[in-house]
């Protein structure tokens, strides 16, 4: 009998061709998908060329998504996107998404069924950990790791120890997966899960929809985590069914698996939460932050640009106007979400409220384009990072929140919760 293992250890063992693995062990894993974007792919392609190989390991298992500076904001970014596009054509890479089909990568790949349960995925983007929501092991790497993955179909890993989060209790009104993960990061700190896998369990997690689960796993990296993961259940199966391109495999942690830590959270005590500048761990309650007046609100990104996020924003904005001192920018994360939001009439609500609605892009989240902040300006954003200069000038500030708090803030002009609105 192999030793009792966590879900993460089981997935890694299976992909390393081993019966068992233990934390700290260095292993070589077969990869199911290798991902890069318009910022990281150019370096990955340059490094791939250095291997001397003419062809990538498998043109159907590489996903390249031009989402960061696209539609291209300037000549330099257009050149970078072109390097990627030329490589796609040369290699016959199948999972490429041109503008018009493109979406923010971590919303797009699950939606299109490219990633599935039981997979091992590396992505040259730190928020690759999002796919843990599907019961996969997914982790962010740099361009050179992605290049080696494109060349060989393998990557080396140190098997991470796991932290188990047991979340119980019903979420209160306007409390979401975003509030849960911000609360966790505030509790353990930005390196609280360094080198470790974050396994989210318990009735509250099981009650979350897929969009919220992806938000939770997306921000594992903001606690320093190597990955975030939620085991497959009927919600996952319903999502994967008819969507997954490949058969998926379900893994579950053994009851006696070993964890570095077990952290219990009573989610019924959570309230809408905001991360103040300049770290995601700098959390406070939204209701205690009403004195923070802001200039811009961004609703979107790989963290909170999915259809549920659009619906919540619309619910808060319906029949209301954006405050006169605020620019509200809403960015559905994929074309499909964009179309769905349009069909549901959400765009009318957004436009009636005087919001700007954009085609999918990472844009403002990383200070790329589509909503850059001037010196001293403040934004509330449903994104994932609020480091110095993240959305623009080094003296600007970003406050992270859920879509509900972001939408309420857009109406109130200062950080607010939906209950504050008339």
């Amino acid at each position: 009998m192999p030793r009792p293992m966590t879900i993460t250890e089981k997935i890694l063992a299976a992909h390393a061709g081993l019966d068992e693995v233990e934390p700290g062990q260095l292993i070589n894993c077969a990869l199911d998908i290798v991902l890069a974007n318009d910022v990281t792919a150019p370096i990955a392609i340059r490094e791939f060329r250095r291997t001397g190989l003419e062809k990538v390991w498998d043109a159907e298992k590489i996903a390249l998504v031009p989402d960061h500076y696209t539609p291209n904001k300037d000549i330099k970014s257009a050149e970078q996107a072109k390097v990627m596009r030329d490589f796609v054509n040369e290699q016959g890479i199948t999972h490429y998404y041109e503008i018009g089909c493109m979406g923010v990568e971590h919303a797009l790949l699950p939606e299109q069924g490219v990633v599935g349960a039981g997979d091992v995925i590396i992505g040259a983007d730190s928020h690759t950990c999002t796919y843990g929501a599907l019961g996969a092991f997914a982790t962010g790497v740099g361009s050179t790791d992605a290049a080696a993955g494109m060349a060989t179909g393998e990557a080396w890993f140190k098997v991470p120890a796991s932290i188990k989060f047991v979340v119980t209790g019903e979420l209160g009104p306007w409390v979401s997966g975003k509030d849960l993960i911000l609360h966790i990061i505030g509790m353990i700190g930005v390196d609280g899960a360094l080198y470790q896998a974050m396994e989210f369990t318990g009735p509250t997690v099981e009650a979350l929809g897929m969009d919220d689960r992806m938000t939770v796993c997306n921000m594992a990296i903001e606690a320093g985590g190597k990955s975030g993961i939620i085991a497959v259940d009927d919600t996952t199966r319903a999502y994967l069914d008819g969507r997954a391109e490949r058969p998926w495999t379900e893994y579950f942690s053994d009851p006696d698996a070993e964890y570095a830590r077990v952290i219990e959270i009573d989610a019924s005590q959570l309230k809408p939460t905001v991360s103040f500048p300049h770290l995601p761990s700098n959390t406070r309650l939204a209701e205690d932050s009403r004195d923070v007046w802001v200039d811009q609100v961004v609703i979107g990104s790989c963290t909170n640009g999915r259809i549920e996020d659009m619906r919540i924003a619309a619910e808060v904005l319906k029949g209301r106007k954006v405050h006169e001192n605020i620019r509200l920018i809403i960015i559905p994360a994929t074309q499909e979400i964009y179309r769905q939001a349009m069909h549901e009439g959400l765009f009318d609500i957004f436009l009636d409220a005087n919001a700007a609605v954009s085609t999918p892009t990472c844009g403002p989240c990383l200070g790329g384009h589509m909503g850059i902040l001037a010196a001293g300006e403040r934004a509330v954003a449903t994104t994932n990072r609020n480091f110095v200069g993240r959305m623009g000038d080094p003296t600007s500030e970003v406050y992270l929140s859920s879509p509900a708090v972001a939408a309420a803030t857009a109406v109130a002009g200062h950080i607010a919760v939906p209950e504050d609105l008339e």
Partner: protein, 167 residues
């Protein structure tokens, strides 16, 4: 590998957005990236360092994005080695893979002050503070990681593997 230079010391959680702000990620040319290294944390950084100088920081150095532009810009700016109490994991991999020397040592970070003259023997894992006359030990790399470093980075290791499989 041996290094010798002046230490430039910073705090904890130095993130990749301040190491190289995203507004410069429209290029991957090392010399271009080097001009903006650490700009949002210390605009004078690139002016005050000399080739071979040593970057010292507290915990969780390089947290945030996976951008390899971060270790590339540090290396191209002239920094020979980064010594920190701990590194964010993607940065750790990226540094190993791209050949930026890094060392983990709590005692060195606690002992070294900004401006100290420091000598490093990376192979032996020994850090000498010439200014204060102190010697510190760094955490040794696992053999697997050491192997990548010795080969000259991950791509060199892959090339070797490809050549072995190719025949």
């Amino acid at each position: 590998m041996k290094f010798h230079g002046t230490a430039h010391k910073y705090g904890r959680d130095i993130d990749t957005d301040v190491i190289i702000p995203a507004r410069y990620l429209t290029t991957s040319v090392p010399e271009e990236l080097a001009k903006h290294c650490m700009e949002d944390l210390d605009p004078e950084f690139v002016n005050k360092i000399e080739f071979g100088d040593i970057l010292v920081a507290e915990e969780n150095f390089g947290c945030g994005s996976s951008r390899e532009h971060a270790p590339i810009s540090i290396k191209a700016a002239g920094i020979s080695v980064v010594i920190a109490k701990s590194f964010a994991r993607i940065f750790y991999r990226n540094a190993i893979n791209t050949g930026l020397a890094i060392m983990e040592s709590e005692e060195a970070v606690d002992g070294i002050s900004d401006g100290d003259e420091v000598e490093v023997d990376a192979d032996a894992g020994v850090i000498v503070n010439v200014t204060k006359g102190e010697t510190y030990r760094a955490q040794p790399f696992p053999p697997f990681v050491k192997d990548i470093i010795e080969k000259g980075g991950l791509i060199e290791a892959v090339k070797e593997k490809v050549a072995a499989h190719g025949d």
